[in-house]
Symmetry: C2
Subunit: 354 residues, 2 copies
C-alpha cells in the first residue's frame, strides 16, 4: 500500500508537502498542489489514520457504543441513532454487546482504550459498571451514559423518565379497573429497573393503593424474557392473583405474553399487560401491547451530540442530564376488563391452575 513517501517521490516533493496538501494545514503553490494531487490519484493513496493518530495524539475518529445487546429493539434504535450522528461527523462506530456482564464490559473497555477511541457511548451493565466507568474517567477518556446509570453516578447522561413513565402506566391500568397489578422487575443492579419499580410504587401511592411486595417479581435478567415465566408462576400462586401485570421492559412483556399463552390463558382476557420500551412491529401484534415507548433513536443522537461537543473542547462544561419523556401508547392488552374479579374473590384462571 502506497505511503506518503511514495506519493512524495512520485510528485517530486517532500512528504511534508504532501501532508500539507492533504490536510490543507499550510499554503502550497497551486502548481505543486496539482502535482501532488495527481500523484495521490495515480497511486489511489489512502492516508494511514492510525499513524496520523499516533503522531497527532488524537484518536482515530472512532467512537464506541457499549451496550447490552444489539438484538433488543431498544438497543438497535439507540445504535442507529448513534451511528447516524457519528457518520455525519466523520466518525466510525465500534459496537460491543456486554450482555449485562460487567466483566465482559471491562474487557471491552480495556480493548477500546488501547485503541484510543475518541469517546464512549455507554449503556452500562449495572451498578457494578461503576468501577469500569471509573477506569474511563481515570484515563481521561470522554463518555456519555445512555438509558442507565450506576448508583451515585454523576456525569453526562441521556435517559427516559422511568419513574413517571412507569407511574403513568400504573395509572392507566388503574383507570381500566385493575387494582392488583403485578410488577415484573429487572435486576436491582440496573437503574432503569429500580426507577420503574419506584414509578410503580408512586403510581399506586398516588391512587392511595397500598404497595404489596408480594406483587413484585424480581427478575434477575433483563435481556431474555425468561424471567417472565417464573413471574407468572409466582403470581398464579398468590392467594389473590393480580389482574394486570406491568413488565419492566419489552422482552419481559413478550416473555410474559408467551408464558400466559403456554398455559392456555391470554391477554387481556386473563391479565392486562403493559410495559416499557417499544416492541418490534408493535402494531401487528395481537393484542397490541400498551407501552411507554422511549425515543430510542433520539437517545442515540442526543448522547452522541453531547459526546461530540465534549470532544470539540469546551472542557469546563458542567455535567448534563437529559431526560426524555416516554410516549404512553395504549394498546389492546389493557382493554376489556370486566371489573368482576376483585381482590376478595380469587382470580378465575388461578383456580384452574392451583
Amino acid at each position: 500500500m502506497a505511503t506518503i513517501h511514495d506519493v512524495a517521490r512520485l510528485a517530486g516533493v517532500s512528504p511534508m508537502t504532501v501532508s500539507r496538501v492533504l490536510n490543507k494545514s499550510a499554503p502550497v503553490k497551486a502548481e505543486t498542489r496539482g502535482r501532488v494531487e495527481l500523484a495521490i490519484q495515480k497511486l489511489d493513496y489512502v492516508p494511514n489514520r492510525l499513524a496520523q493518530s499516533v503522531v497527532s495524539r488524537n484518536g482515530a475518529r472512532i467512537l464506541a457504543l457499549v451496550m447490552p445487546d444489539i438484538v433488543n429493539p431498544f438497543c438497535t434504535g439507540v445504535a442507529r441513532g448513534v451511528e447516524d450522528t457519528a457518520q455525519n461527523n466523520d466518525y466510525v462506530l465500534i459496537i460491543c454487546n456486554h450482555d449485562d456482564d460487567p466483566q465482559k464490559e471491562e474487557g471491552y473497555f480495556r480493548s477500546l482504550l488501547s485503541l484510543k477511541v475518541d469517546g464512549f457511548l455507554l449503556m452500562p451493565s449495572g451498578d457494578k459498571a461503576k468501577r469500569n466507568i471509573a477506569l474511563l474517567a481515570d484515563k481521561g477518556c470522554p463518555f456519555v451514559l445512555i438509558d442507565r446509570k450506576p448508583r451515585g453516578y454523576v456525569g453526562d447522561y441521556v435517559a427516559g423518565d422511568n419513574v413517571n413513565g412507569s407511574a403513568e402506566l400504573v395509572r392507566l391500568l388503574l383507570s381500566r379497573g385493575h387494582s392488583r397489578i403485578g410488577f415484573i422487575s429487572g435486576p436491582n443492579q440496573i437503574s432503569t429497573a429500580r426507577e420503574r419499580l419506584t414509578g410503580y410504587q408512586l403510581g399506586l401511592q398516588q391512587s392511595c393503593i397500598k404497595f404489596d411486595p408480594e406483587l413484585v417479581f424480581p427478575g434477575e435478567s433483563f435481556e431474555s424474557g425468561i424471567a417472565a415465566d417464573p413471574a407468572l408462576t409466582k403470581f398464579l400462586g398468590l392467594a389473590c392473583v393480580p389482574t394486570a401485570v406491568l413488565a419492566c421492559n419489552n422482552t419481559l412483556a413478550i416473555g410474559f405474553l408467551r408464558a400466559v399463552r403456554k398455559r392456555g390463558m391470554d391477554v387481556p382476557a386473563d391479565f392486562a399487560l403493559a410495559c416499557f420500551d417499544k416492541i418490534a412491529v408493535m402494531d401487528l401484534i395481537k393484542p397490541t401491547v400498551t407501552a411507554a415507548i422511549q425515543p430510542a433513536y433520539n437517545f442515540g443522537t442526543i448522547a452522541t451530540q453531547l459526546l461530540l461537543e465534549k470532544l470539540r473542547g469546551s472542557p469546563v462544561e458542567k455535567h448534563r442530564e437529559i431526560i426524555l419523556r416516554p410516549e404512553i401508547v395504549p394498546g389492546e392488552s389493557t382493554e376489556g376488563y370486566q371489573h368482576t374479579a376483585l381482590c376478595s374473590e380469587p382470580h378465575r384462571k388461578a383456580k384452574a391452575v392451583n
Copy 2:
C-alpha cells in the same frame, strides 16, 4: 496516559524489555518480569494498539461490518453473529449502515481502509457495489460477502438459498389453493431480489403455471416497506386480482400487511401472504406470517470465521461459497383459503375497491 517508556523507567529497564514482557515475544528473567509487571500494574498501563499496528504493519484487530441497516432484524441477527465471533477472537467490530446507497458505502470503505481494519464483512448495497468491492480487492484488504453479491462476483460468500426457498414458498401457496400469486420484488440491483424472483418463477414452472409479469411488482426499495403499498394498489387494479402475495423480504411483508389493513381488508381473508426472512416476534403477530427464515446469526458467525481464516494466512485458499437453506415456517397467513375465488371470477374485495 502512561507509555511504554514510563513503565520502563519505573521498572528500571528498557522499553524493549517491557515490550517483551507484554507480548511474550522473547524470554525475560523472572525477576525482571516481576518488576515490569508491577510497574504495568502501578501505572495501569494500556498499550497503544495504534502504534503497535503502525510498526508491526498489522491491523489493529478491528473488523468492519458494512450492511444496509442494523434496524432490519435480519441485519441485526447477522451483526450479533459477527460481533460474537469477533469478540471470541479478540477483535472489535465497526458497524456501518449504507442504506443501500453505494456512495455511502464507498465513503465507509475509504474511511475503513484508512483505519487499516483487518477485514470486511459485507452485505453490499447492490450491483453498483462492485466498484467499491474492487477497491478493497485492489488494496489487498480481505473481505467476505454476506447475503448478497453483485452480478458476476466470485469470492468468499455466505448466503441463503434464495431460489429454492422462494420456490418452496410458492409451492406452499399453491398447495393452499392459490394459483394467482403476486410477487413484491426488491430492487433488481440486489441479488437476493433477483434470486427470489427466479425462485418464484421456478416454483410456478414446477407446477406448470404460466408466469405472468403483471403479477410482479418491482419495488425499488428494500429496507422500508413502503413499496408494498403501491404494490397492493397495482394488484387490486388487475383484471384478475391475485389471491396470494409473496413478499421479497420481511419489511415488504410487514408493509403489505399494513397496507391491506389500511384498506379495510385482511390477511389471510383477502390475501394469503408469505415472505423471506424472519419478522421480529413472529409468533405474536396476528396472523403469524408464513416465512422462509434464514439463519441470520449463523450467516454472521460463519462469514466471520471465513474471514478470520483468511487473516490467519492460508493465502492460496480457493474462494468459498456457503449456501444455507432457509427454514420454511408455515403461519396463519397462508391458511383458510376457500378455493372459490379462481382466476376466472374477480377477487371479491377487488370489486369493492375498483
